[in-house]
Subunit: 196 residues, 2 copies
DNA sequence: TTCTCCATGTAAGTAGTTACATGATTGG
DNA sequence: CCAATCATGTAACTACTTACATGGAGAA
């Protein structure tokens, strides 16, 4: 399971050839998909992968700088008048680095951090009505999330016809597992109602 | 105690009545469920909620100290000979604080951070065989996770008969959504195989 | 004019981890 | 006696966020 990793103790980003961090690859990936500026990258993340990955603006700009230093993206000034702006395009080396990372079989931890489920776990401490309320709240949250995702689906389906099949996959993944959570909630809500 | 100065913004935990952090409530919850020592709390987390919440040992001991200061748990020395040990029990005030938190209708962000899905999102950049490998890896990961969870299920079902129904719910939640992810992966793997 | 969007930069702070240090007890 | 487990404490670090600062451009 856990990889032995390399010989040394490589502090991340310690030197020029150190492994890029996951957020840096995310930025690289977004540039590859056509996001030009830091601002656009932030928007692209919010519109597409925010469901399973977030990144703050404060991370994006330093990442772009690093990627440019390594020549994985090429940056150019695109200021209009006095309004500062810098656009980026992926390089050959950048494409190689991205696909190498995508193909690499390293551990992919599934990191979920959900207060909702934590609360449910402890919910035996609650009075039945209160527990039912909590259950309903968790169900609603997933219903809303699934509904939001379904709204974006047409866009993703269009993209599929233009050769981008995987964004639709990740979107359907989100829909599927929120639907699954809703089902489990409903099952328990029924059980619970009967028990009363 | 701590300065802060009444004027400024309330940094978390700045004074005695500041809101507890989520990890502190998790520790409190585990004490309520019968985990006695810091060590046992860590184990309980690993055995029960690690799929949607983790906590490091280094966080637990300071949390216990804080909870004791606030009289939400009562600590007593339980050293055996020279081996230091401190056990904790929840107080009335602690139980109230816990149920108040559980019942509170505050936002419950669903925080997922998954490199696997990120890689899939970008997978159109890969050659078809490579993309299929990635898809299979993500599928396997969920299959393994679901299998592990099913192994723990009998335990949770026993607990259910003893009045703890909710741990089973959260466990079934985990099974359900990993099963859902597996299904989506399989659907796309078939589609993909046909397209070749 | 004023609001919203475009666009970047950065200081300060929060939340959390890893890794190390210490040492007792139990079971084979 | 040796390995595994029990048990706590903490310094150093990483990763990341929030909040603030700055200002142009376009639209109403």
């Amino acid at each position: 399971m856990l990889t032995g990793m390399a010989t040394s103790s490589p502090t991340r980003q310690a030197h020029a050839n150190a492994e890029l961090s996951a957020p840096a690859y995310v930025v690289l990936g977004m540039v590859q998909l056509g996001a030009n500026s830091g601002y656009e990258i932030k928007q692209a993340v919010e519109q597409s992968i925010r469901f399973f990955w977030t990144i703050s603006q404060a991370q994006i700009y330093p990442s772009l700088e690093l990627l440019e230093q390594r020549r994985l993206v090429r940056g150019r000034d695109a200021s209009r008048g006095r309004r500062q702006r810098r656009t980026y395009a992926i390089t050959r080396a950048g494409e190689r680095a991205l696909t190498e990372w995508l193909g690499r079989a390293d551990p992919m931890p599934f990191e979920l951090r959900d207060i909702g489920l934590v609360k449910l776990f402890f919910a035996d401490a609650l009075a039945p009505e209160e527990a039912l309320k909590l259950l309903a709240a968790v169900r609603q949250r997933s219903q809303e999330r699934a509904a939001t995702l379904r709204q974006i689906a047409p866009e993703a389906r269009e993209a599929e016809h233009e050769g981008s099949a995987f964004p639709l996959l990740t979107l359907e993944m989100g829909v599927a597992f929120h639907d699954a959570m809703v089902e489990v909630c409903e099952r328990f809500e029924r059980r619970f109602a009967q028990a009363q």
